[in-house]
């Protein structure tokens, strides 16, 4: 119970549930907005950070047509696709996209980059169709990681 307080300590990335259906993340980067935008929209750069090593997942394929109305698809293995559409793209300050892998009842992510003195304040909002969907989203990531580890176990077993 004593560690609970520590785990809640906010460092630079803040995460806040602002309503039943929305979660907002903020973070400041020591780079101008055009670079942050570029890192977010060029597949070869995007894939370097979107899947942190600690997550233990591999991004096999990454197609991104970053313009209003364009589509994207991230493939993490057979049947493990994350995909959707860019609803709005305004370089270098705003990207809005849908997350459609869960079906038609999708969530919408809005990310904005605001430059101040050479640094960029990033604000990301994820709005889910229902509070249940948002609740499930937090735990979903953990489950996905476990699933990946399970797959790794299987792979290692066949290699032994």
């Amino acid at each position: 119970m004593e560690t609970r307080k520590q785990t809640e300590t906010v460092r630079r990335t803040t995460v806040e549930r602002t309503s039943d259906r929305e979660v907002v993340v903020t973070r400041t980067f020591d780079a101008p907005a055009r670079l942050v935008f570029e890192a977010w929209t060029k597949p070869e750069l995007f894939r370097q950070w979107w899947v942190p090593k600690s997550l233990g997942m591999t991004l096999y394929d990454c197609e991104m047509d970053v313009r209003t109305g364009g589509k994207y698809r991230l493939n993490f293995g057979e049947g493990m696709d994350f995909f959707g559409r860019y609803i709005e793209v305004i370089p270098p300050s705003r990207i809005v996209w849908t997350n459609e892998e869960e079906g038609p009842d999708n969530s919408v992510t809005t990310v904005t980059f605001e430059e101040k003195d050479g640094k960029t304040v990033l604000m990301m909002s994820e709005v889910y169709p229902s509070k249940e969907a948002l609740d499930a989203a937090g735990t979903g990531a953990a489950e996905a990681t476990q699933e990946t580890f399970a797959q790794l176990d299987e792979l290692l077993a066949t290699m032994g």
């Binding site: 119970m1 950070w49 937090g138």
Partner: protein, 121 residues
Amino acid sequence: MVQYQHAPIDASFAALSDATRRGVLEHVAQRAASISDLAQRFQMSLTGMKKHVVVLEQAGLIATEKVGRVRTCRLGSRGLDDEIAWLQTYRTLWTSRFNELDLVLEGMKQKEKPNGNTKTD
């Protein structure tokens, strides 16, 4: 099914949106306390503290029991595990992503510094 499992989280987040209530919860997690103890500790009226206690109790975060004239508050059976786990998972993901993004950005800036820059500034 998911609905059923996660519904109480929302009440908890609402309950925890207030600094005093977070403080009360932390305190009660250490040891049980009466409402008047809590009111005194958090320097507010008995009525004010009662309201906070009701919100926390309805969210299942604390449990109260009246013995004689004193109502004692202790940590609810549900505790904070669900909420902490939710935020923690979410934050862990984005913190690690953004830490990696820092490195990518640093690399991009380094590339731009020498005059081998293909972009116009």
